[in-house]
């Protein structure tokens, strides 16, 4: 069975001329459905860049990407946008909710873009997702009236809106206190296991890394060690 997310030999340069930096130096990775992979490493080692490349937000200078075994390298911008909409859910350190919308409406935004569901079905699915992240009683709450932890949980529900195969999380708990961090991580891993999704997250939090199925240690744009967490 093909990996939910895979890449081979991914290279990425950032900057121009004398400030040009070789950020990713031939990274290869496979993430199976139902598994949680953590990327750890010092700031600036290329964790976020790898997530953006794998999430089709950025393009690599060399290497191959595939989602569910389907190659996605070299696609045009519009096609990449469609793949992101259908197959990938992002969770960022900052939730980036749209403050003009309620919690439920924020979750419905990716569904509206995809256009597969009618408005009633979208509302129902958004309500179910928010219920799953423990916000079933705050559907109509404006985004800016939610606490930081609640907003991040709305962002997780939004990332799951179109039932993506792959979840990419860039420091998803980096802006939360210990209690909320544990809660958000448990929520993410629970969803991944229950719904058979692949989760790749970048984190500085050693507890979260240890709770993952696989840890990739990154240094200077390369995985220097990839292994399950030590027992």
């Amino acid at each position: 069975m093909s990996a939910a997310l895979s890449c081979q030999g991914v290279e990425r340069y950032l900057g121009e001329f004398e400030s040009r930096v070789h950020v990713l130096r031939g990274v290869s990775l496979e993430v199976q459905a139902g598994s949680v992979h953590a990327i750890v490493g010092p700031s600036g080692c290329g964790k976020s860049t790898l997530l953006y490349v794998l999430g089709l937000l950025d393009v690599c200078d060399a290497g191959r990407l595939a989602i569910g075994g389907e190659p996605v390298s070299g696609l045009a911008d519009d096609a990449l946008s469609r793949k992101r909409n259908e197959l990938i859910g992002f969770v960022f350190q900052f939730h980036f909710l749209l403050h003009e919308f309620t919690a439920q409406e924020n979750v419905m935004i990716p569904m509206r873009r995809l256009g597969r569901l009618d408005p009633r079905a979208m509302r129902d699915r958004a309500a179910a997702l928010l219920d799953a992240v423990g916000l079933g009683d705050k559907l109509q709450r404006p985004a800016h009236h939610l606490s930081g932890g609640e907003q991040q949980r709305v962002a997780i529900a939004r990332a799951l809106a179109n039932d993506p195969r792959v979840l990419l999380a860039d420091e998803p708990t980096g802006n939360l206190d210990t209690e909320n961090s544990a809660r958000v991580f448990d929520l993410l891993t629970g969803l991944v296991k229950r719904e058979g999704k692949a989760l790749l997250l970048a984190t500085h939090n050693p507890q979260i890394a240890r709770a993952s199925d696989f840890i990739h240690e990154m240094k200077d744009g390369l995985f220097v060690r990839s292994a399950p967490p030590a027992a």
């Binding site: 519009d78 946008s81 873009r113």
Partner: protein, 415 residues
Amino acid sequence: MPSPLYIALRFINHRKKAILLSLAGVILGVAFFICTQAQTQGFERFYIRTVLGTTGAIVVQDRFQPQFTGVLQTNETTVVSVSNPRRRKYQDGITNPEEVMRVIREFSNVAACAPVLEANTTIETDFRNAVFVLQGIDLDAELAATDLRGYMVGGDLGDFRQKASGLLLGAILAGDLHAQVGDKVTLTGPAGERRDFEVCGIFRTGDNLIDEKRGYIHLRAAQGLFDKPSEVSFIVVRLRNPDRAPALAAHLERLLQHRARSWQEREKGNLQIFRAIRLSAAITVSTIIVLAGFGIFNILTLMVLEKVREIAILRSMGFRRADISAIFLWQGLLIAGIGSAAGCGLGALLTWGVSRIPIRMRGFFATDHFIVYWSWHHYLAAIAIAFTGIFLASWFPARRAARLAPVAILRGSGQ
């Protein structure tokens, strides 16, 4: 509903105060544009109606002097042409008016035509003497070809019809002469012929040049007074479609070998003034829409700067560049749409209100209230200007939003 429109509506709703000011600018710009165009074109149309009502769509007048081209054949292979290089000359008047009018009436666009014999004449009343332009008319033909009946402000056309020595005087001229209906006056033709006439009616066209200098008598009486028993000075032609006057005038000129002048040619100078005023009003009022456009440009540009994170997250959710651009273009289009609709309503209301304003105007034409011309073209032009201006105002911020690189924003946000 497309997702960009859905988001645009919500963004607008959260910027109500800022947007309302620009929206008010669009509404006022559209409304003032419609109202000023209705006024300027209203006066222009009224002036044209006065021109057509007094002197017809086409005036057929002097005959061309025939030009001859001599041809000499010197031998079997050589032909020499000798032509007169002098400029075309005219011979005053029309010597065969019935024949010319018969030909004119053949054209389907011609509604009526009337012969007129005109000469400067001296009028003597008990009060004073004056020189004026006296026109001899065939009353029935004149009534069919002009709006004379509508211009009568005193006396009776029936009385004039009955009296061979009846006279109609322009209102200002009658006032200057202290002449009233029923008064006897003496007219002296250009050749010195004197005859007595009775004032049967007073008319007012609104055009001072006519009202202070013109009078009418019967054509037959004029031919006697002017000693021109069979000719006329010109023929007034009324058309069903006056807009086609220039083409028909040119055709009549070639066909009849008489000078034929359309109302557009005769009034070219005045019409240009009206058009310049209309254009000037349109440009001036459009600046309100342009200013509103600048306001919208500022609002949307600020919004793009404020929403860079939201734009990045929307891109991460699968929104294309075109979708991001559409969010901002939709906002512009919504403002343009609401502004145009409300502006058209307000413009119609203002136009109606202006048409009720009393104003006494005499000289160019006569009116006792503001004249407006209702035309959907004014509304269409106002909407086109509003949409073009606001589209441009929203296009630049929209393009800027679409070009934002989500990765750069997300990286910056994380630091």
